[in-house]
């Protein structure tokens, strides 16, 4: 079952979509989305389960870096498509709500 796209999920998708490389670690996502860790990590797990997100461990020498390796997240091609679609829908809804001239009815789009 695909995850419910709430406003918090949209924030995470937007943050991951914003950059070309699209790789982010947890603290970075918290900083960019303003979400607390207790909200962010369940979202990341649900997105990963849905196949929209892929995670990998950072390859770093803990002694040289002075810290353990982090876990990085990036959108899969499916995730990119979903994120673009959901963000476009949100933009249309916001534009319609604000009565902006560019607002297009979804059926006519």
């Amino acid at each position: 079952m695909p995850p419910r796209v709430t406003s918090s999920v949209l924030k995470v998708l937007s943050a991951l979509l914003a950059d070309g490389a699209g790789e982010r670690y947890g603290l970075q996502l918290m900083h960019e989305t303003g979400l607390a860790s207790g909200t962010l990590y369940p979202i990341l797990v649900r997105l990963e389960r849905a196949g929209w997100l892929r995670a990998r461990w950072e390859e770093v020498d803990p002694v040289a870096a002075g810290r353990p390796g982090r876990r990085y997240y990036r959108l899969t091609p499916d995730g990119v498509a979903v994120a673009r679609h959901e963000i476009a829908v949100m933009h249309r809804q916001l534009a319609r709500a604000a009565g902006l001239p560019g607002a297009v009815h979804p059926e006519r789009a």
């Binding site: 995850p3 419910r4 670690y25 947890g26 603290l27 918290m30 607390a36 860790s37 207790g38 909200t39 990590y41 369940p42 797990v45 649900r46 389960r49 810290r67 353990p68 390796g69 982090r70 876990r71």
Partner: protein, 352 residues
């Protein structure tokens, strides 16, 4: 402080599904290490994980804050409904005894109270058969709801000894001792007669103790003989003039407090001794919008003017519903009735 943050992350990881816990624990510890000496940020990061709901296991429906809030609301509606029903029934007994029955008819007063207790016991039996559980799990929420009800209902202080220093010890004694009595009865669940007798004796003792604790402040102010304390509970349930040397003020005060608790005891006892009955689990129904619509309508309707309604809600005729004179109070009451109505429909559908 950093050690505390790492400890909180360990606690959080243990609550997450086993297939994720190891990786996430490693990831969170890595983020804490990256935060280094910024201990407040590290502690906030760890505390949020420790206090927030863990993600559901793969294939399960999400159970986050929204679902938790809905479950808490459904859970809180039952004890609130029990206490309001007990308060309304006790007031009904009081009104009938005062206006509909000839004076001095002691057995009729007690008969009405017995019928009200039987009604609450029947309700407890129905709830106990449908949602069986440990006695303390129902007694403590009912005690909390009773504390709120007795304080909220006393905004107009016609009863002089119904402040927190009276209600808190009374309701606390009732909650603790009724929980103990119900737990003992619960242990005899296989021997129904023994369970009923021990539960009944224990809850009556709990009510007597609650009356003493809840009236101690009044007794001190009114200089009442403390040796008469064990008799305050039975005397409080009898009509005025039967209390001998105990002031009517103390007995009336005690009756307003312990009367609804007596009916709550009947509910708890019946809930405890009734075993579960097999049946389909009730499912949520999509009637909530209709119920909430009714609630809004109930709030929007202006209460009738005049003395009758005013006397009903200002505690001079009935006790405990003073909050119904304010819009927030009526809103809460209407929302509670809507939630309970929706749940009743769900149970009826499951049975049908």
């Amino acid at each position: 402080m950093n050690r505390l943050a790492h400890r909180l992350v360990d606690i959080a990881a243990r609550r997450w599904p086993a297939d994720l816990a190891t990786d996430l624990s490693r990831e969170w510890h890595a983020e804490l290490a990256a935060l280094g000496t910024r201990s407040v940020r590290a502690l906030t990061f760890a505390a949020s994980l420790a206090l927030s709901p863990a993600v559901e296991a793969a294939g399960e429906a999400p159970y986050g804050w929204r679902e938790r809030a809905a479950a808490a609301g459904r859970f809180a509606a039952v004890p609130a409904g029990v206490v309001l029903s007990a308060g309304a029934l006790f007031d009904l007994v009081h009104l009938l005894a005062r206006y509909a029955l000839p004076p001095g008819r002691v057995p009729a007063d007690l008969l009405l109270l017995t019928v009200a207790a039987a009604a609450m016991a029947a309700l407890g039996g129905v709830v106990g058969a449908r949602y069986p559980g440990r006695p303390a799990a129902v007694t403590v929420p009912v005690g909390l709801a009773a504390y709120g009800f007795l304080l909220a209902g006393n905004r107009v202080a016609v009863m002089p000894f119904m402040g927190w220093r009276d209600i808190l010890p009374g309701v606390a004694a009732w909650t603790v001792l009724t929980s103990v009595a119900a737990t003992v009865a619960y242990r005899y669940a296989g021997r129904r007669r023994v369970a009923v007798v021990t539960g009944l004796g224990g809850t009556l003792l709990a009510l007597d103790a609650a009356t003493v604790c809840g009236s101690a402040h009044a007794a001190t102010v009114l200089h009442v003989d403390p040796w008469s304390a064990p008799r305050w509970f039975p005397l409080a349930l009898l009509p005025g003039g039967t209390g001998g040397h105990v002031p009517a003020l103390l007995l009336g005060n005690a009756a307003a407090m312990v009367g609804p608790l007596l009916l709550c005891s009947a509910f708890v006892l019946a809930y405890t001794v009734t075993g579960p009955t097999p049946g389909r689990a009730p499912r949520a129904v999509g009637w909530l919008p209709a119920g909430l619509g009714l609630a809004v309508l109930a709030v929007a309707v202006r209460p009738p003017d005049g003395d009758t309604f005013a006397r009903l809600v200002d505690n001079t005729t009935t006790f405990g519903f003073g909050f119904a004179s304010t819009l927030p109070g009526r809103t809460l009451l209407a929302a509670l009735v809507a939630v309970l109505a929706v749940r009743s429909v769900a149970v009826a559908r499951a049975d049908g």
